[in-house]
């Protein structure tokens, strides 16, 4: 069974309910550290995402997991590679018990194909090699609390000085990337995006909270995308991260769905905003596909 968008207490309630309805001796919860939640079932064990592949856990779990073990796969959509070794280890654990609950906040990282990873985990990987469409989704029970993401642009004037510096930096970055084949072209937008930071500083409200790539400006009211909790929601997006996974983590941990985004009048800011708008549309389309489950 796949549960999308559930809160920690709701997840725990589902586990308790499942254990009451089935003969369960032990619950094993696989989860990244920052998503760990208290489990009310007395006999339980937490396994951190990065430890799943370690022999010390892997072989022991292969021996221990049996038909009376409930496996909880919590927020384990961590990479888009459907054949990732950690997923393969989970597949082998899942082959040893019919009892499994899969919790995930958002159904995708970037594209619809990501959902196939969750689907594989819930269906003994029977369709591991195929693309998953709405017609196949009936093979799995999916319960959804939909997340409707709303991004609202707050315009920021960058000023002539920043714009001139931006043009210089762009020329420099392009020359560097063209001259060195080891340099990643994706560094061009990543680095240019940092240029608008100073312009956005003027718009910072000391009473509000912000989310940004790093705290290079030493702001006490700004958190980065790498943190394990976001207790001061609502946050305004000071700048987007480049990876959608980091942004998904932020949304899952903060539970924020309405976001103001500072968008400077530099082309890179517009580009990032459009990129995330397109991402939010893909997310909405994924929910629409899930809604068509036969």
């Amino acid at each position: 069974m796949i549960f999308l968008g559930f809160t920690d207490p709701e997840k725990d309630a589902e586990i308790v309910r499942y254990c009451a309805d089935h003969v369960i001796r032990k619950v094993v919860l696989f989860s990244p550290e920052k998503y760990r939640f208290p489990c009310s079932f007395p006999e339980h064990e937490h396994i951190e995402w990065s430890e799943i592949i370690k022999y010390v856990f892997y072989y022991r779990l292969l021996q221990e997991i049996d038909g009376a073990t409930l496996l909880v796969i919590n927020e384990c959509l961590r990479t888009q590679n459907r054949h990732e070794l950690t997923y393969n280890c989970l597949r082998l654990f899942l082959n040893q018990t019919p009892h499994k609950l899969i919790f995930q906040y958002l159904p995708i990282i970037d594209t619809w194909d990501d959902f196939a990873i969750l689907f594989d985990l819930d269906t003994q990987s029977r369709w591991k090699r195929e693309k998953i469409g709405a017609d196949r989704l009936g093979e799995s029970i999916i319960r959804i609390t939909q997340v409707s993401l709303d991004l609202h642009a707050v315009p920021v004037d960058a000023g002539a000085k920043t714009k001139a510096a931006y043009a210089r930096e762009k020329t420099k970055l392009l020359a560097e990337v063209r001259g060195d084949p080891a340099k990643d072209p994706h560094n061009i937008p990543r680095n240019l995006y940092l240029m608008s930071g100073k312009a956005k500083l003027g718009c910072i409200d000391p009473g509000a909270h912000y989310i940004g790539r790093n705290n290079r400006f030493k702001l006490s009211n700004l958190q980065t995308y790498k943190e394990s909790s976001y207790p001061r929601a609502p946050y305004t997006v000071f700048e987007f991260c480049h990876n959608f996974l980091d942004f998904s983590d932020f949304l899952a941990l903060s539970r924020q769905t309405q976001l103001d985004v500072l968008v400077a009048d530099l082309k890179v800011d517009q580009w990032y905003f459009e990129r995330y708008m397109a991402w939010s549309r893909r997310l909405r389309d994924a929910y629409m596909t899930l809604g068509r489950v036969p």
């Binding site: 070794l85 090699r129 762009k170 392009l174 063209r178 084949p181 580009w271």
Partner: protein, 376 residues
């Protein structure tokens, strides 16, 4: 005669394959099944042997032994050869022929079953195997004289020993569009029917009764019919191999050398023998999946560009006979980093035969940089 391909909608692929095999038995006196020890040829050989047993006929089970293969492959072929001995004509070929060795530049070829090196062979030759060419040596053909008498030369010369024979091959269309095209592009007429799962091969025909099977059909058949399969698949599954990489073939050619990385874990004794048999094995075992070496996906830090790395590899290539082959080929290619990386791969893997062709097109990285230049 039908002009278009058609499928029987209410048949399973197993029923269709059984029908096809029965059809082959009805129309051909002489039938030979090519086996490799892999899962597909195991299913095909089993289906054909069951039919031969039912009809009291004898069919050839043909295995070209490349010497440097898993012991499990040998065990599997042995199993198939002895499954229905009264219906089997064993055609186990252990002849001297050349194989490309992608793991070493200094010993670029292995001569399988080389005379005088029997102490180094992976295992002794099998009793009852075909150890001398059964064809007329004077009429023997060789595709590429630079390479010498190779794998496909053995197959072609061996097939020419027969006429009017049906060679059954376990190819499946879903494995790649090229395979599908190779199987169906030249349909043949057999009796009243037009066969889309076969091609004419000189005086013989090659037939592909499993051409529409998917991988799960194969596994389901093996499970339901309780047919033994190579244990390497189980080991690969436990190790987390993707289905597309679960392959059982020779260890040393350009597409399969990665299997050496896990060989010490899967078959330590086979690995020990392979180390003694040919150069490059220890390096391939350690670095077969390394980005800066055999995968050729990361540029070594000593070089500023793939073009510089390619030029270095070409300049220092240890084989003076092969170097001009690469130089001539590369002269026809575009000069960009994308192409140069693939050329480095050919050089590292000693692919003078061009089995891993270069995708000769403008560099996608340049396209990306141009895109960022425009939008940012």
């Amino acid at each position: 005669m039908r002009l278009v391909q058609s499928y029987a909608a209410k048949k399973t692929v197993l029923e269709a394959a059984r029908d096809r095999i029965a059809f082959v038995f009805d129309h051909y006196e002489s039938i030979i099944v090519s086996v490799s020890g892999g899962k597909d040829s195991t299913v095909l050989a089993h289906l054909a042997l069951v039919e031969a047993h039912r009809r009291g006929r004898r069919i050839g089970i043909y295995f070209l032994d490349e010497e440097v293969v898993y012991q499990s492959t040998i065990d599997q072929v042995e199993y198939l050869m002895t499954l229905y001995p009264e219906n089997t004509i064993p055609l186990w070929l252990q002849l001297e022929f050349h194989l490309t060795n992608a793991t070493s530049s200094t010993e670029g070829q292995l001569i399988a079953w080389e005379a005088g090196k029997h102490k180094l062979w992976m295992r002794p030759k099998r009793k009852g195997s075909i150890q001398h060419p059964p064809w007329d040596r004077e009429k023997q053909t060789v595709r590429d004289k630079n390479k010498g008498f190779g794998f496909y030369d053995v197959i072609e010369n061996f097939e020419r020993c027969y006429t009017g024979t049906a060679f059954l091959v376990g190819l499946r269309a879903v494995e790649s569009p090229n395979r599908w095209r190779a199987m169906v592009k030249n349909p043949i007429g057999v009796g009243e029917r037009r066969i889309y799962w076969g091609t004419q091969k000189g005086a013989n025909v090659a037939l592909y009764p499993l051409y529409d099977w998917n991988y799960f059909d194969i596994w389901r058949y093996l499970y339901e019919e309780r047919v033994k399969y190579s244990r390497i698949y189980d080991l690969m599954f436990k190790k987390g191999y993707p289905i597309t990489e679960m392959r059982v073939s020779s260890f040393i050619h350009e597409r399969s050398f990665k299997s050496i990385v896990d060989l010490p874990e899967f078959e330590p004794k086979t690995y020990e023998r392979l180390l003694k048999r040919i150069k490059g094995i220890a390096l391939a075992q350690e670095t077969g999946k390394a980005a800066k070496l055999f995968r050729v996906s990361k540029l070594p830090k000593n070089f500023r560009s793939w073009i510089a790395y390619r030029d270095f590899l070409l300049k220092t290539h240890p084989d003076p006979e092969r170097r001009p082959i690469f130089e001539k080929r590369f002269a026809r290619h575009l000069q960009n980093e994308y192409v140069a990386r693939q050329q480095c791969r050919q050089l590292i893997l000693n692919d003078y035969e061009n089995n891993l062709p270069v995708d000769n097109k403008p560099d996608p990285r340049d396209e990306l940089i141009r895109y960022y230049d425009e939008v940012l």
